[in-house]
Symmetry: C2
Subunit: 342 residues, 2 copies
DNA sequence: TCGTTGTCATCAATCGATTGCAATATACCC
DNA sequence: GGGTATATTGCAATCGATTGATGACAACGA
């Protein structure tokens, strides 16, 4: 293993002071002879000199590093968000410290502290969806010495920049679309018990029904965690109803549902129509392709970064900014249009 | 935004020197009165004091942070690897800096430098699969001032710890299994042009054929990138052959193939048998479930960490260690047993 | 009273960079 | 040769922690 080369060593070899070397290598406006400049650069290159960011950020009080906390990097959506965000950060010369918490508020807190003490200049937080005790986390976030942007979801009632898709609107759009296609008995499969986003999507679903005077029937509302297996379990009951369509409030939930449908020999949309959520790559495989509410992680990343960027630059008011993005309905082939006589 | 509290400020408030505070808060053996100890701890807690790791790691010459470079965090396999690795690192008090390169050697190099200058104590590298020019990267890795462990793949001919599954063996096992089930015309769909792992899997496939005296028929070997779309494109040609089985050398490749099969109304394993690779979660959905070569990312992470851990502790010889893991064949329902009269 | 021992706490150097200010060397002018 | 620009470069403090070396003070025995 090679040794780390320091500024001082370069200086020694060149025969100049460390300050001069620093000045030259950072292209600071200063009066160092062209000759020495060249010499310094050459020696630095020859020795593979790379400045120690640790030392540098100690004095500069900035690390050009940002942090991200997601509940679970193994989920497609978060992985994609992380990927986009990292790319975006790198474009502006920031490194992104990606961490994955496991979803409990305690883990989130621990990671947040880690990031802060490691000197990130700002954090993106995808936290606050699960209903564990988040008092300590809330406290920590509100006293953060660096800017924070909550992405995709939020800790309720916390004054903090937020960037997220309108989950209520998503639920509403999916349901309105089904209604528009003639469906009247529409079931939904949501994670309302343990998830804020799920709760909002459910609210949107109900608003759509209410708006056209359809009854809100508790027997058509089913609960599922955000796992394929959970949705698979829950789906049997869904299929026992007289629903002609189902709103599946996440891609995993849709996948679990599809698996069950497939096993029962039901066809889509012939036997039952489905609107999914997230429109992630896995869907690509299904016949028929799934009509879904899409929320592009890239767009989320873009806005989140813009928000962060503003804070880092010291711009942006003292009040928190809130960006709400509209999801899109992507129509494919999993919904049957019911004609009157049906 | 709250301010960062420093050691000095705590010291000032307590009325003791910074050294004393440091000593106490780190539970160093030292003679500070019980009374003052309590006082220090209390004041530190009240002020939400958190030590600045940046400053600390400057003097301690270690950050308890490790780095990971994967080609693409959006891929299921890498996301899963990253997740497992992070969890494992955290168990030992290390934070993991996850980065995603995009797959080119230049990006890898850039990220590696970033990690090193940011003071990670070691790096996990998932690099070297693509055939871009990697001279600079190779050079950098061999002069690294910190331990590196190559995971899942490697830059050929580089003296460096390696932990990976035996890709050749995977290809061999898949093919032997198909042969064992009576198949004689076995096609394969691999990424041999741009991927070392793909090349190895192909080698395993050929070894299996050779071993039983079956001909290696170039007309049965098809090329596909590791994308669903690429495999989808390539699959038409595969299906035009007289093959009774296909070895798909990655999950994405299998998915593309399946999509095409589905569209052509072919059934699995009735019309054609398939052995997939990676056995990732997406497979769960298919009817029939896919027989596949499985390489558990968690196992990979475990061994990679163990390897790193040894280096960090200063144990481990001067020669590079090489851990080769055997993949497992998971038999499900996508392969038809051909009886003699077929 | 001096020396010894023990307890409690502080000093000051260090890690590797950055940077305002001071210092030196050279050139130029009268 | 003295004085003033101007061109170059170096000093030393700083960021926030850690830590080996040291100091101050009290109590105690001889």
């Amino acid at each position: 293993m090679a040794n780390k080369v320091t500024l001082k060593q370069i200086a020694q070899e060149v025969g100049l002071s460390p300050s001069s070397v620093s000045l030259v290598l950072n292209n600071r406006p200063c009066r160092i002879s062209e000759e020495n400049r060249k010499l310094i650069k050459e020696v630095a290159a020859r020795n593979h000199y790379v400045p120690n960011q640790i030392a540098r950020s100690l004095v500069m009080r900035e690390s050009r590093t940002l942090g991200l906390i997601v509940p679970n990097i193994e989920s497609r959506f978060f992985a994609s968000l992380a990927g986009s965000l990292e790319k975006r950060c790198r474009e502006d010369g920031y490194a992104l410290f990606i961490t994955s918490s496991g979803g409990s508020a305690d883990d989130d807190l621990e990671l947040l502290r880690q990031l802060v003490t490691r000197g990130v200049d700002g954090v993106f937080l995808v936290v606050g969806d699960e209903f564990s005790d988040d008092r300590a986390l809330r406290e920590e976030v509100s006293h953060l010495p660096i800017p924070a942007v909550m992405v995709d979801r939020a800790i309720e009632g916390l004054e903090c920049d937020k960037v997220m898709f309108d989950h209520e609107m998503g639920g509403y759009m999916a349901t309105r679309y089904l209604i528009g296609q003639g469906h009247r008995r529409i079931a939904c499969l949501v994670n309302a018990r343990r998830s804020n986003t799920g709760r909002k999507r459910l609210a949107g679903y109900e608003r759509a029904l209410r708006e056209v005077g359809l009854p809100i029937d508790a027997r058509l509302e089913f609960e599922s965690e955000y796992y394929i297996s959970s949705a698979y379990e829950a789906s049997e009951a869904v299929l026992a109803t007289d629903a002609t369509a189902v709103f599946a409030s996440s891609d995993n939930i849709a996948l679990g549902l599809l698996k069950r449908l497939h096993e029962m020999g039901k066809s889509i949309p012939g036997d039952i129509s489905v609107v999914s959520y997230d429109n992630s790559a896995a869907d690509v495989l299904f016949e028929p392709a799934l009509t879904a509410i899409e929320q592009d992680p890239g767009v989320l990343a873009e806005h989140a970064f813009a928000c962060m960027s503003k804070r880092l630059a010291g711009r942006g008011g003292r009040r928190a900014e809130e960006v709400v993005l509209e999801p899109a309905l992507i129509v494919k082939d999993s919904v049957l249009e019911l004609t009157k006589h049906n």
